[in-house]
Amino acid sequence: MDARTFGEAVAHVDLATGAVEMRPAPRDWVEKYIGGRGLGVRYLLENGPEVDPLSPENQLCFMNGPLSGSEASMSGRWACVTKSPLTGTVTDSHQGGWTAARVRWAGFDGLVFDGRAPKPVYAFLEDGRLELRDASAVWGQGIHDTVKFFQERYGAKDLSVCAIGPAGEEQVRFAAWLNEDDRAFGRGGTGAVAGSKNLKAIVVRAPRRTSTVEDPEAWKDARRKVLDRIRDEAHITSPKKGGLSVYGTNVLMNVANTMGALPTRNSQLTAFGERAEKISGEFVQESILVGDPTCHACPVACKKEVEIEEGPYAGLRMESVEYEPAWSLGANCDNDDIASIAKMIDQCNDLGMDPIELGNALSLYMEATEKSWVKDDGLEWGDASAMVALVEEIGRRSTPLGNLLAEGPARAGQEIGHPELAMAVKGQAIPAYDPRGLKGMGLGYATSNRGACHLRAYTAGAETGVLPIDADPLAWQGKGALVKAFQDLHAFSDSLDLCKFSAFAETAEEYALQYAIALGEAFGPDDVALTGERIYNLERHYNNRAGFREGSDDLPARFLEEPSTLAGSKGEVSELAPMLEEYYRERGWVEGVAPEAKLRELGIL
C-alpha cells in the first residue's frame, strides 16, 4: 500500500461477461483528481453523462483514496460514484467501517463495474484477485442475514461484507449499500444501480497492511500532529470528551432546535419544541446507549449502539441513531418516539435504504394526508407503528403506496399532483438543517452537485459557532464565498478519502501535510483548494452535460416564501437569489454553468 503508486490497481469488471481486468487509472487523472470522489467522477465523465442510471450502460465505481486504509486518522472511507437514479446527476456517497481499508489491503485502489450480470452475483476480493460468484443464495435477503451468510461461509476474521438489500434489488430510487451491517453509502440511490446490475455484494478478506512511505519518521510525525488536534479538548472530536465522541452526531438535535433550524412536519415549522429533547443525542446517551463502535483508524467513535428494552421493539440492538435519521423519521414526521426511530433506522440498514430520503417521503405523504390530498386513508403525523409498517412496504415495493414512495418524495409529489410538498433539490430530499435558520446550508443545498446535501458545504460548523469563522447563520451576505470554500475543501477530503468529521479538527494544512508526505512530493494548502475547486467543477461539468443548466440550483418554494414562525429564525426566509449571484461570481460560473474558459483554467478540458 503506497500512495505513490495509487491508482495503478483498478479492477474493471464486465458484469455481462464476467471478465475482470486490472487497468491503471490514467496518471493525469490521479494527479488532477486524487482518488475517491474526484477520480470516480472522472471515470463517470468518461463513461458519458447521458446514460440511463438504471441501464447496463451506467457505471458503478468504488474508489478508495490514496490515504484510505492507511494509518492516517479517519481514513476508513471510500466512495461509491455513479449516475444517480434519484437525481440524474453524478453522485458520490462515502461509508466508514472497514471495507475501504480491507479492499485496499487486498490490493485494490478501485473497482469499476460495467454492464449487467445475467444472474445475481457478488464480487469476492482477496490477495489481488477479484472473482464474480453466484449470489442466488442471498438474493432477496436482508443485509443483516447477508452479512451472516458470508461470515459463515468465509469466517468473520479479516472479512468485510458490503451489500445491498431488498430495496436495492427492487431498485428503490434511494436504495443504499451497507457495510459492517450499519455503515452506509447512503445517498443518491447507489444501491438501486447495483440492483439493476444484479450485483448483490462486495466481500473482501484481507489482513491488515501498513503503508510504505519514503520518510517513515515524517509520516509518523504528521499523524501525531493530526491526532493531537483531534484529541485537543477544545475540539468536538476529542475522544470521550468531545460532543461527537460522547453523544454522536445526534448532539446536533437540540442546538438546531434552539436555532430554529430544525425542519419539522415536512418543514412547515422550524423547530420541534420541547419534544426535540426526546429524540436528542443527550437523551439517547442517558437512556438507551450501550456501545460506541468505531471505524478503521478513528479515535472519535461517533457511532452509537443502542438497545431497546421496553415496548413493541424490545430486544432491538442496533447502530446508529444518527442525527440525520433521528430528524428525518422524528421531528420531520412529528414523531418523538426514539424506540420507533431506532427500529426504522435498523429497517433501513437491513432493507438497504437512505433514511433521509425515506423520512422525507413519509413526511410528504403525512402533509398530503393533513391537507386531504390523498385517495387512501393516508398517514397521520407521528403514527409510529404505521410508519414502521410502511417502511417495509417501501423497501420491498410490496404495496401501491410503498411503490409510490419508493420513487422518492420528488417523484411521489409529482404523482399525487403536489410537487410543492417535496422538500427536495434536483430530486434529492433535504437533510436536517432548515435553510431559513442556516442561510449557508440553504445555498449549499441549492448548489450541491448531487442534489440537496448537508455534507458538500457543511457551513453549519461555522454557522453554529463551532469553527473559528464568523458566520452569522441569519445573514446571507458572504455565504457565496463560504459555501464555495467548504465545497472545495470537502471535495478534496472526499478524494483522499478522509471522514468529513476530520474537518472539525484539521484544515487544508493538515490535509496537505499528510498527502505530501505520503506522496513524497510537495503539496500545499493552496494545492488543496485548487484541486478541490477542480473536482467541484468537474462534477458541475458532468451535470451541465447531463442537462442541469440555468435554474437547476434552486430550493423548495417553502423556504423562499413561508417565513419561519419560531424563535431563532422567526420571520426569516432564504434569500437564495442574492446568495446565488454572489456564489456564481465566486465560482466564475454563468447561471449555474461552468463555462469552457473556467474548465480550461482548471485543466479539466
Binding site: I236, Y247, G568
Partner: protein, 101 residues
C-alpha cells in the same frame, strides 16, 4: 452576588457536557432586570465552579468554547454580545461547541 431588589427569574437550559457538569437539564436563576449574560455566567460558575473552564476564556470573558443562545440567537451576533442585558421572558440555552452531521 446581589441582583438588586426587582429580581426576575431566568430559565437556563444546559446541553451535552455542560448538563453533565451541572447534573440537571435546566436551572432557574433570579436576576435583576439590568443584569447581563456575563453576570449570569459568573453566577453559574459560582454555583458550579467546574463550568468555569467551559464558559470563560483566559481573560475571564465568555469565550468561543461556549455557545450562548438568547431566545435562539447566539449572543455573538447580538450587538452587545456578553454585555447583552437580560429580561425575565428570555430562554437562555448553553451549549459547548457541538457539531455533527
Amino acid at each position: 452576588m446581589s441582583w438588586g431588589s426587582s429580581e426576575a427569574r431566568v430559565h437556563v437550559s444546559l446541553f451535552a457536557t455542560l448538563r453533565e457538569i451541572v447534573g440537571q437539564k435546566t436551572v432557574d436563576l433570579q436576576v435583576g432586570p439590568g443584569s447581563t449574560v456575563q453576570a449570569l455566567a459568573e453566577e453559574l460558575v459560582l454555583r458550579w465552579p467546574e463550568l468555569g473552564e467551559h464558559l470563560f476564556d483566559a481573560e475571564g470573558r465568555l469565550g468561543r468554547r461556549v455557545n450562548v443562545f438568547i431566545d435562539g440567537r447566539n449572543l455573538r451576533w447580538l450587538p452587545d454580545r456578553e454585555q447583552t442585558r437580560l429580561t425575565s421572558t428570555e430562554c437562555i440555552d448553553l451549549f459547548p461547541p457541538v457539531a455533527g452531521g
